[in-house]
Structures are given as structure tokens and as C-alpha cells.
Subunit: 358 residues, 2 copies
């Protein structure tokens, strides 16, 4: 097991990475300082049959009384409606202020259960137990929680730091191929924005990663999470540095919205978004064309899409971007690469983006 | 106009009290440092015809572009469902991170619009423009926002400090008699828990208050808000001192829930709760019987109910209290009076409460 701390003052917390950690979650949660008896495990119908029993057992052995709350799998559960059904079950289970919520699953469950923990009784403790690569390398750390509106993704939410992140990498072996590969988009993102040498390491290790070699994956998950922690420690509420984590996400989110939730997996949309952002980086940040090609090629080797939809204007991408929550004052805060491993922020107008992507 | 600041570090903000302030709200909001163009005014169908126009006009004159969002009046609007309709309208109005929400109305609108501001884009600025006495002396200050679940009131919410509180006391003249009187419950509460001399002043001024003498009301609203600010400044997130503000509220909330939302107005339930808490204070905090009588008599002069329902067991009060969110570890954190003007906290079991109230 690899462990490090995210240094966030009163919200500082440990991150544990390793195989088989779900069976040890109860003890790790006790070690994180939680001692209420009642808690809720929020998960979805895909993850529950695989991992709910060992987690609930581990919690019970450690002296907790977990209530299991299951939601439907998929993005449509990231809604206020589903949140309400979870809130009502938590109230019925008589979870108190000293209680906590365990989010067992991927990004949807983490965001939804995180939002519930952030707002139930104006905030109770949260433990993240991510089971997808995307959640393990990215969404489980940093305290962002959210649900979607019809208008756009993640418009409603709160910052709420977990009391611990427990990434059991053994769960990665049960992921479908497409779901596993989408997680690599976020891994490549960290390399692109802040760790040039990691690009070379990913090029070297991509075959081992794709055959899910656990020791290589453990190192990749830790390296990604440490990068995320570095950024979050310096800018918890995304008023500056943290924006670089949105590399590939402005166009990625818009693509997800415009194409309809579910046509693209989040990581696939981010992959396309990174390719688009790399192209804009050549124009507005003097990114070398060979660096752009190297990034695109790495994304391709990960089995992720790289083609920017040619008819993206008709897809309503512009409208979706105009609603993007990172917009401020009419222009869009865009993350570009100066070189591989070095991100910068530029304000671009919709016109500038259109002119160079069409 | 009377003005003071609530000292909350980065969340410090001004409080303005006086007649006619709605017409000056735009300028007061500019002075509070907000400069985005787009904002949303959230109000209800009772308040809108009275005060929405002057507020919107004042905002427009100050350079803002307000979108008016109306919800149905009454407690049933404090729901996730209504919140969702407000969120969607805010998204359609393209309110950005730098935008803000103005809550124009009583406690329901303040709590609902506050929750929306706390969670839209993970938090945008909020201005409270309370129009009822309850909201002006209590709920508009302190950063508590919430919506209800079917199970109980205020179970879902967030702490989110307003950027300014603008209490236009001229609005008190349009309140119905019952709604005005319920606000006096919170006024009496401040006197009971932290300002003994204020009890005597309220005894002296009650006639002027009841005929809504604006200069007396201005002083009463300011004194109440300053007491609230004193407590919130020392314990923003209710981990200690702030609990004294729950005097009368544990039984009050349970009464509201058990009797069905709407049978008792909030302040009426709190009035009964204060009478019950005063009786328990005799038993568990050695409150003098003459102090108890003086408090009950002041509540009566304010035209508020003082009778504890004799069949309260059948009303399901105990169940409702067991679900109360101030419960922790099985017992109930109860606020008692040692003397008029001095509150203390005691953990009481449900059995102890039952034994002395039946």
C-alpha cells in the first residue's frame, strides 16, 4: 500500500493506493479518525454485486453500522432527483452529524455521494472509495462534488474534501475495456500539463498499462494523484492554478453536452478536447508541432479518440461552451500547453476558437 | 440607515437596516463589491407584486441585469424540486461565476435562494433582502441555507454567507398580523438567551412594537441582528456557542414536523418550544420560577401561543425529535436558561424531556 497526505490545513487527509484495500477500508476509516457508528455506503447497481459485500463487512468488523444505498448506474443518476432519494434513505437510516458517507464507485457515484455528504445536515464526513481508473486518478481527490442540470453538466455542487481516499487498484481488473481506457485520458492530462518526463514513461509503459499490470498501475495512479494533490493544495477552490486541470475539458464538456450525455464517455470527450487544445496551443502558446504530434500519438496508443468532429458547429458545441461554468465575462478561460509538461492559461473568445478549429 | 459589519474574515460583510432600502439596494450591492452584470432576484408570488419592481429597477439603475425568478409562496417551496426549477432558470439566464443571487422575501425564500447560491457553480455570491420580521431579525444573517426533505425540515443545506444583508423595515408594514407576530418569537429569543435588559425593554416597548412604530422596530431589528452576529462571528459553523440560538427550536421544529408543516408558523412553534424549554430550565438549570413566568408572559403579550400540546406524545413529537439534526450520539443537545439573558447547553435524553413535560 502506498500512502500520502493531501495537505489542506483542517481538511488534510490521507490517500491510500494498493490492491485489496476495500477489505481493509473499515480499519483505514477508523485510522482517519471517524468513530460514529452509523454510516451510509452509496454505490450503483454495477459496482454493488462486485464490491459492496466486502466493504460492508469490513465496516461492520471495524464497529460501524453501514446502510447500503444503491442508485442506477450511469450519468443520469447525477441528478437532484437521485440525490433526493439518497437523502431520504440517509435520513431513514438516522445518520447523524457525526456519521459519514462512503462513495463506492466511479465518478458518478463519487460526485453524487459527495454532493449528498456536502449538503446533508449542511455537511457530514465523506470517504471516497473509487473503483474506476478515472475516479482513482482524478475525481476522488480534490473535493469537487456535483450533480447535473438539464442545461449542462456539474452546474450544481459544492467543495467538500473527503476524510480519506482509498483507491483499491484490484478493482481496475473488472473494468470494461472502454471504461478502463477513458481513465487514461486523465493520466495523460497530468503528464501533459505538469510532468514532461511522465510522457516518456507513459510511452514506455503503455503496453503494461493496457494489460493492466498492477504494479505499473499502482505507480501510475499514485503519480497522477500526487500531481492532483499538488495542485489542489495550492488552489483548493479553483481561483487560479487549479484551472490547469481543465486542460481538454472545456471542449470535452461541450462535446459531451452537445452529443448528448453518454455518446462519449467523459474521458473520450476529454481526449478529443486535449487534441483540440493542443492544436490551439500551437497557435496561441507556440507549442512545437512535434510535441503536439507526440501527445496525439500517446492518446491514440491509449485507444482513445482524437478526431475533432468536423461538423461540430452543427452539434451545438458553441452554445454548450457559452454555458460552460468556466466562462467569465464573455471570453473563455482556456488551458494551453507551452510545451509538454507545462500548461498556461489564456482567455480566448469563441471566435478565436472557431477560427482555428474549423 | 443603521449599518454594521459581521466580522467573518474573508466572509465579512455589511448589514444595513432602515426604511426604504429596497430602492437603494443596487447602490448598496455595488458598495459591497459586486460588479458582474447578470444576477437573479429570487422571490415568491406574495412578495413579487409588492417589492420586485423597485428592487429590479434599483439593480438596473446601478448597472446590473437582473433576471426575476418567482416561486410559489410557502414552506413547500423549500424543496429540492423547487431548487431545481430555480437552478434551471439561473442557467438559462446565463448567470456566471461572478454573478449573484438576491433573495427577496421571508425565511423560505432566503433559505431556498441561499441554498441555490451556495451550490450553483459550487457557490456564487448571495445578497439577502429579507422582507419579514423573522427573516430580518434572524434567518437572513448567519449563512445557514437549507431545503426540507419529506422526513424533516432543513436536512439538506450549506453554510454560505451573504455578501450583504439589506433589511428594509418599511416592508414590515405590509406583513399580516400573524406573520408579524411570529417574528417576535426570535426577538424574544435573543433577549432570553443573551440580553437580560432587553427583556425589560421589550416589556416597555411591546405596544409600540405591535403598532409597528418604525423607529422602535429599527432599533429592535438592529439589536437582534447584532446579537446574532456576535454569536455567528464566534462560531460560524455551529460547533459550540451558536447552538444557543436553538433555544426553543428543538421542540419547536419537532412540533412543526409532527403537526404537519403549516399548522404552526415557525415562530409560533418556537414560542411553544421556548415555553417548554423554560419549564425544563427550572428542572435542569435552576431557572427561577418568576423568570419563567416573566418569559411566558412576554410571549403571551406578543400574541404568540404558549400552551404545550397536552397530547404531544400522540403527535409523534418524540419521533420527530429523534430525527432532529441537532441530535448526536442518542441524547439531545438542549438549550436551557440559567436566568433571563443567560443560556446554557445540557444533553438531555428523550426520557428526561418526556418526564418533565407530560
Amino acid at each position: 500500500m502506498r500512502t500520502f497526505r493531501v495537505e489542506l490545513g483542517a481538511q488534510a487527509h490521507p490517500v491510500h493506493i494498493g490492491p485489496g484495500l476495500i477489505a481493509r477500508a473499515g480499519d483505514l476509516i477508523v485510522a482517519a479518525g471517524l468513530d460514529s457508528t452509523r454510516c451510509a455506503v452509496v454505490t450503483d447497481a454495477t459496482v454493488a454485486p462486485l464490491y459492496a459485500s466486502p466493504l460492508v463487512e469490513s465496516l461492520a468488523t471495524a464497529g460501524f453500522e453501514p446502510a447500503l444505498i444503491e442508485v442506477a448506474p450511469g450519468e443520469q443518476s447525477k441528478s437532484l432527483h437521485t440525490a433526493e432519494t439518497v437523502f431520504e434513505q440517509i435520513a431513514q437510516a438516522r445518520i447523524e452529524r457525526s456519521g459519514f458517507v462512503v462513495a463506492l464507485g466511479g465518478g458518478v457515484v463519487g460526485d453524487l455521494a459527495g454532493f449528498v455528504a456536502a449538503t446533508y445536515l449542511r455537511g457530514i464526513a465523506l470517504i471516497q472509495v473509487p473503483t474506476t481508473l478515472t475516479a482513482q486518478v482524478d475525481s476522488s481527490l480534490g473535493g469537487k462534488t456535483a450533480v447535473n442540470l438539464r442545461s449542462a453538466k456539474n452546474l450544481v455542487g459544492a467543495f467538500h474534501q473527503p476524510r480519506a481516499v482509498i483507491a483499491d487498484i484490484a478493482t481496475l481488473s473488472t473494468l470494461g475495456e472502454r471504461e478502463f481506457r477513458e481513465g487514461l485520458a486523465e493520466v495523460i492530462k497530468y503528464a501533459a500539463i505538469m510532468d514532461g518526463p511522465m510522457i516518456a514513461d507513459l510511452e514506455r509503459d503503455m503496453d503494461a498499462i493496457l494489460r493492466r499490470d498492477l504494479s505499473v498501475l499502482e505507480a501510475v495512479v499514485e503519480r497522477s494523484l500526487r500531481h492532483k494533490a499538488y495542485v489542489v493544495e495550492r488552489d483548493e477552490h479553483e481561483s487560479g492554478l487549479r484551472r490547469i486541470l481543465n486542460f481538454g475539458h472545456t471542449i470535452g464538456h461541450a462535446l459531451e453536452t452537445a452529443a448528448g450525455y453518454g455518446s462519449f464517455l467523459h474521458g473520450e470527450a476529454v481526449a478529443v478536447g486535449m487534441v483540440a487544445a493542443a492544436r490551439l496551443s500551437r497557435e496561441f502558446a507556440a507549442l512545437d508541432i512535434s510535441d503536439e504530434a507526440r501527445l496525439v500519438s500517446l492518446i491514440e496508443r491509449a485507444g482513445l479518440p482524437t478526431a475533432i468532429p468536423t461538423r461540430w458547429r452543427e452539434l451545438g458545441l458553441l452554445d454548450a461552451m457559452a454555458l460552460d461554468k468556466k466562462r467569465a465575462g464573455g471570453a473563455i478561460e482556456f488551458i494551453l500547453l507551452r510545451e509538454l509538461g507545462h500548461a498556461i492559461t489564456r482567455r480566448l473568445t469563441l471566435d478565436e476558437i472557431v477560427a482555428h478549429l474549423s
